[in-house]
Amino acid sequence: MPDALLVLADGSVFPGRSIGAEGHADGEVVFNTSMTGYQEMLTDPSYAGQLLVLTYPLIGNYGIDDRVEESARIQPTGLIVREAALTASHLRSQQTLREFLVERGIVAIEGVDTRAVTRRIRMHGVMPGTVTTTESAAKALERLRSFASYDNVNWVNSVTTDHVFDWNVPPGEARHRVALLDGGVKRNIMRSLEARGCSVRVFPAATPAEDLLALNPDGIVLSPGPGDPRLLDAMVGEVGQLIGKAPVLGICLGHQVAARALGAGTFKLPFGHRGGNHPVQEVATGRVTITAQNHGYAVDPSGLDGKAFVSHINLNDQTVEGIALRHEPLMTIQYHSEACPGPLDNAYIFDQFIEMMATVRGGVR
């Protein structure tokens, strides 16, 4: 197998073996500490423009099952692991991780001391890097110098749907009609709504508020997605017009966009939150749940409109994990209630959203 290199912008080089396509892949190098769910992570649009390091060393053990994909393609530009299983063992596996990467043309590397890479990122923050099977380290480094900063790219544009579509309509009459603004949505958000009897119409991220409201939705979901929310002024403006018109659920990027619309700022975390073990506390009850997270930016609540309040905080670093409005039906969460991968503890958020829609509508449609 050809040799491959991981080269970081700080000049550090990690040799390994290629387990994917030939070529090179550039991106912001980020790590995720989940021990399971590599396929869900690989198909999560929020990883657009990033090189994903998995801290768990044994990846690919249970193979690939197309039923668990969270979007139609592999989203990170490349994958970095300690060891990718040569054979998979699971009754639902259809191909190995290696086959999946090669088939989808993704550059990936194994044999890397991923803990050393993770420690470097933790100490120095996320940084650009490249995985290459074709270049020398020097050449790769030179290219990295002229690499467009991850923070300056509007990644939402590259992952959002290009047309309006309806997610599988649940059998029978839908209880609620939901409009979903797609900044890089994961399928399990739609599945979760579908399972609760909602019909979901998915709109491109640049859809004007009035087009969305024209559907006369019972509720609006602002989806997760990649990149810096500060680049999304237009979307923030439209979302500002949605608030108050119908119950709103914002997840991850959707939470950040809604927070901005309510006057808050956002900032970049040194190395983000990516994993399935982050403790989040609901401020009102003190209740702690374990959450799945994948975000590089967080909300600065200092400018927040007086009618909004911080509803959830992260117990690790006290960052904002959710906001709500005092008198209007809006709830946003920084973490992923849809899990996939990660703990299922927060699916109740969808139930609360349904309740919110039911209350506003005066009961079931």
Binding site: L91, R122, Q281, P343
Partner: protein, 1082 residues
């Protein structure tokens, strides 16, 4: 609400299924209580524990774990709360009994951790099933039965095979699988006998399904988290304590993982547990391995098998595997804290409310006792048989597995070991036994397909394919010339230098030299609970062949304490106790303590115990790599301490000396003098100290000659072996021939020792020496005569029958031996004292000298108040014993009597003879302490479950040789109102004494009732059985009697001395008092 004071129940003696993990849990709980400002009161009958040290809890009771005793403690201490979840099944059962007896209500004691209702719903099979049904969890087809007939009917309805699970038992005691109706009757009877409420569950057998465990926690506010999940290498059918276990799970997808995680959290929430809990699941396997009905595309079917509403062996493993201190957090939750209010001890920044993320793979392998019990039934099933376990951590499964095998210390076997008969074309035994892992390897080496092996064993192909990876590397090492890349790849798969050398035809030392030349050295990575996401402060490391080293040497002086590895018969928790104290003593002396050990159950592998912990195999390579890593460039290597970790550590003295690495304490030369027979003989001769005549021999001829010269009976044993393995008293030449052959196999080329067997009182001392002063904390006398292994003997402090001159002789010999050997630190000496001839000098002979900490160190430290390990470590560092305020000679005897009694796990080891001899068989110990002999003895016997019930019936079967000794005992039994049953010869003797007796036949094939019947039907409640030795018919005859007693769980005495003591203790027991250890010792 925070209680002001809490009573913590320990788990009692170490038995199979309940080992050092509860010392770890209890110690953490006591520390947590102190941090919370809660007064802790501890009760445990096991003196060999850190938790029973005076400074761990605020009040320590070393007393039997029974309702009347604990009630007296509660009456004295009036604790507000009772925490039963740290003491294993023993603690939980005792709490239930205390509640049932109304004690908790009477004294207004609040049950902490798990509500009584929660315990009952988890433990009672019927309530458990109801709970699962209520939660909508799948319920496995099963029937709750209280009689044998019900069991048979249930099995007929469910269909064979079935599993029998007794309620409220430990380690699956009494349970098992049944494939036929005959088996069902046997297993069901044993299960009903084992259950304290005579209730068993007859359950559908999920043979071949995956077994997965989750460790979960919940606080009083209802916050629930998962600490760790674990997957068993061995599928359903093998007790999880006997399974190879991997953390985290490897073959579960995120969907599978989260489905089971959510189920575990629902269960702990429903049970209302405030603390830790273990949930065991069975998950559907690949259909191409073991088929099951159902849709493979629906969520995988699973069943909840078992819930332990307390900390457990698995939670200790999970704590060590993740770095998350489960018991400590559980104790704080019991005091009323919520998870988010408890700081994370690892990161010191975040809180306990998070789930650990692992960035390595952990492999646990059980340590079975079949090297000692060659005749034991090796088949593994639902009843646990392992005495201990090892754990290894690495970045790949293959490497963790190889390291775990190296840590096992089973005859020095690596994964390359094969049974000789496998090589000669025999079948590889793929059924579940302790040797299955090696059999799988052997089959793969001969071309077996991993997938086929998986189909035969139901072990997931993920695992067999990884075994195949190891075999592929073996082939490369056999075929290719060594080159750096190959060697690095081999090291990354965990191959030891010895394995590489064996395959590449070099010496291990040459491989090591090559590694250094090629720059192939292990790095050490931190176990930090968070996969490096946060900057952690845990000094807890494992080796791996990667690029970045996180365990950099520090500038301050350090010393390495070599631990004792897995708990096994002969090397138990006592050595972990000594290792922990050694680490603490170093810290007190201002030296950084570095602990090396491979046992996940222990206090020594708590990252709080030492300044730095290396979780590594304790072989030469593992320890030398640690020393090299701790040696800064050009600096001097840190010293190693090998005196406290039993034979595991002391065996490293010689390799370390050869490598020029410093050892503090007794030198390798001193160790040699004590262990090499010829050197030792000369040494004693020079001092003029007698030992039983004998010789070290290498051939049978020499053996015959020696025995003839010194006269039978003789004691035969291999040198350099711990716990009296393969030791026997031999009466004549015929026996000698048989036994020397057996001993030679164990001795592995080292000499065999033959000594005159002296029939006297056995006496044991531990001494501490700094090179000038010899301090003897105490003398212990064994109740059993010489011939029973000291570890299986009841030991009494102070000695019962030694006169002043005999004591003086022992002190004199001890001082001269210790100083003469140049032993620095601890030395243990065993003597035999022959009955005094009036007018003559005492007759004291040296049996054995061990220049290291012995298993009596914790017992003696506790009852004498002498900090033995601290003084010993001080002496090693050059401090003087006198400077600590201790004199030379025998430390004044305390005003107390303490008796150490052995505890056995015989009911769990089918096929093993319980007869006591020179080879050690006990797994643990208890202590009875009081102001006088009789109450101390009564307490020891009660705690060891060997107490006689008044007015009971007793079965006697006495060998001819011991009949004379037995006469006073028989009279005493009769006077005390016992009904006596006896075998033919014995009953004739009793009739001759005009004492009423019921004769019972020994012949099992003839009339009923026979000896086994009267035991099994409950006619007798105690057995006294003596035999000559393993070569005579009487031993074979007695086997069935002793096994029946073990299975019926009634006391069985194989020594007249012990039986006599037990009868006298009963007669005088009356009412004993309870007091704290401090009150006794002061």
């Amino acid at each position: 609400m925070k209680p002001a004071s809490v009573l913590i129940i320990g788990s009692g003696p170490i038995v199979i299924g309940q080992a050092a993990e509860f010392d770890y849990a209890g110690t953490q709980a006591c520390k947590a209580m102190r941090e919370e400002g809660v007064r802790s009161i501890l009760v445990n009958s096991n003196p060999a524990t850190i938790m029973t040290d005076l400074h761990i809890a605020d009040a320590v009771y070393i007393e039997p774990l029974t309702v009347p005793v604990v009630e007296r403690i509660i009456a004295r201490e009036r604790p507000e709360g009772l925490l039963p979840t740290m003491g294993g099944q023993t603690g939980l059962n005792l709490a239930v009994e205390l509640a049932r007896a109304g004690v908790l209500e009477k004294y207004s004691v609040r049950l902490l951790g798990t509500p009584l209702e929660g315990i009952r719903r988890a433990e009672d099979r019927e309530l458990f099933r109801d709970m699962l049904a209520k939660l909508g969890e799948p319920v496995l087809e099963s029937e709750i039965c209280h009689t044998l007939d019900e069991c048979v009917a249930a099995a007929e309805q469910i269909g064979l095979p079935v599993v029998i699970r007794p309620a409220y038992t430990l380690g699956g005691t009494g349970g098992g699988m049944a494939f036929t109706m005959d088996q069902l009757r046997t297993v069901a009877a044993s299960g009903l006998a084992a259950s304290p409420i005579s209730q068993v569950l007859v359950e559908k057998n999920l043979l071949g399904w995956k077994e997965v465990e989750y460790e979960v926690m919940r606080d009083g506010a209802g916050n629930c988290i998962t600490i760790c999940n674990m997957e068993n290498f061995d599928p359903m059918g093998v007790h999880t304590g006997d399974s190879i276990v991997i953390a985290p799970s490897q073959t579960l997808s995120d969907k599978d993982y989260q489905m089971l995680r959510s189920a575990a959290l629902r269960i702990i929430d429903e049970l209302g547990i405030e603390g830790g809990c273990n949930v065991q699941f069975s998950l559907a396997p690949r259909k191409d391995i073991t088929d099951w009905p159902g849709d493979p595309y629906a969520p995988l079917p699973y069943y909840v098998i078992e819930v332990n509403p307390r900390v457990s062996r698995s939670s200790a493993l999970a704590s060590k595997a993740t770095g998350y201190p489960i018991a400590r957090v559980a104790a704080k939750i019991a005091c009323g804290k919520t998870l988010d209010q408890i700081p994370n001890a690892v990161t010191r920044k975040t809180t306990a409310a998070f789930e650990p993320a692992l960035d390595y793979c952990v492999v646990k392998i059980p340590r079975w006792p079949f090297d000692k019990f060659a005749l034991g039934e090796r088949q593994l099933g639902t009843q646990m048989k392992a005495t201990g376990e090892v754990m290894a951590i690495d970045r790949s499964f293959e490497a963790a597995l190889n390291k775990a095998v190296r840590s096992l210390e089973v005859g020095g076997h690596s994964l390359l070991w094969e049974r000789p008969e496998w090589r000669s074309g025999g079948e590889f035994p793929l059924n579940a036994t302790d040797e299955r892992l090696w059999a799988l390897m052997a089959a793969l080496r001969r071309g077996a397909d991993p997938f086929d092996l998986s189909r035969q064993t139901a072990i997931d192909p993920w695992f067999t394919i990884r075994l195949q990876n190891i075999v592929a590397m073996e082939r490369r090492l056999l075929a290719e010339a060594l080159h750096p890349e190959l060697l690095r790849d081999a090291k990354r798969l965990g191959f030891s230098d010895e394995m590489v050398g064996q395959l590449a035809d070099r010496l291990p030392e040459q491989i090591r030299a090559l590694r250094h030349e090629w720059g192939i050295r292990p790095v050490y990575k931190m176990v930090d609970t968070c996969a490096a996401e946060f900057d952690a402060a845990t000094p807890y490391f494992y080796s791996t062949y990667e690029t970045e080293n996180e365990a950099l040497p520090e500038d301050t002086a350090a010393a390495i304490v070599v631990g004792s590895g897995p708990i096994r018969i002969g090397q138990g928790i006592e050595f972990d106790y000594a290792s922990v104290h050694a680490a603490w003593a170093l810290q007190e002396a201002g030296i950084r303590s570095i602990m090396a050990n491979s046992n996940p159950e222990t206090v020594s592998t708590d990252f709080d115990t030492s300044d730095r912990l290396y979780f590594e195999p304790l072989d030469e390579e593992g320890v030398r790599d640690i020393i090299e890593n701790e040696t800064g460039s050009g600096d001097e290597a840190p010293s190693s301490i090998v005196q406290f970790g039993g034979q595991t550590a002391i065996n490293l003295a010689d390799p370390l000396r050869r490598s020029g690495l410093p050892i503090i304490g007794s030198s390798a030369d001193t160790i040699d003098t004590a262990e090499d027979r010829r050197l030792f003989e000369r040494f004693l001769q020079d001092l003029g100290i007698p030992q039983p005549p004998g010789a070290a021999i290498l051939t049978l001829e020499e053996a015959m000659k020696t025995a003839q010269t010194i006269g039978y009976p003789v004691l035969v044993r291999p040198s350099y072996v711990l716990g009296g393995r393969a030791m026997e008293i031999v009466q004549n030449a015929t026996e000698l021939v048989t036994f020397v052959a057996q001993a030679a196999e164990v001795a592995q080329g080292k000499p065999i020792l033959i000594d005159k067997f002296l029939d006297g009182a056995e006496v044991e001392v531990d001494a501490i020496c700094d090179g000038e002063t010899v301090l003897i904390p105490g003398i212990m006398q064994h109740i059993e005569k010489a011939g029973v292994h000291s570890g299986d003997s009841m030991a009494v402090y102070p000695p019962m029958h030694l006169d002043a001159e005999e004591r003086a002789t022992i002190v004199d010999y001890t001082e001269r031996i210790v100083l003469g050997l140049g032993a620095i630190g601890l030395t243990n000496i065993q003597y035999v004292v022959l009955p005094r001839v009036p007018g003559e000098d005492p007759r004291v002979f040296v049996l054995e000298v061990n220049p290291r900490a012995s298993r009596t160190v914790p017992f003696l430290s506790k009852v004498t108040g002498v900090p033995m390990v601290q003084l010993a470590v001080g002496a090693m560092l050059g401090q003087k014993i006198a400077d600590h305020g201790f004199p030379s000679g025998l430390w004044p005897e305390r005003n107390l009597v303490a008796i150490k009694a052995p505890v056995f796990s015989m009911s769990k080891l089918t096929g093993v003879d319980t007869y006591l001899g020179p080879e050690m068989k006990s797994t643990g110990e208890v202590m009875g302490i009081d102001r006088a002999f009789e109450p101390a003895l009564a307490k020891a016997l009660i705690a060891a479950d060997m107490a006689l019930k008044p007015n009971a019936s007793v079965l006697l079967s006495i060998s001819d040789r011991t009949k004379a000794d037995a006469l006073p005992l028989i009279h005493k039994l009769n006077e005390s109102g016992y009904r006596i049953f006896a075998t033919e010869g014995t009953s004739k003797m009793i009739e001759a004494l005009n004492i009423p007796v019921t004769p019972v036949t020994k012949v099992l094939s003839g009339d009923h009732p026979n000896v086994v019947d009267v035991i099994m039907d409950g006619s007798v409640q105690c057995v006294i059985n003596t035999s000559e030795n393993r070569f005579t018919g009487s031993l074979r005859d007695g086997f069935h009697i002793r096994r029946a007693a073990a299975e019926k769980r009634i006391p069985c005495f194989t020594s007249i001395d012990t039986a006599r003591a037990a009868v006298s203790a009963l007669v005088t027991a009356a009412d004993f008092e309870v007091a704290t250890l401090r009150e006794y010792v002061q």
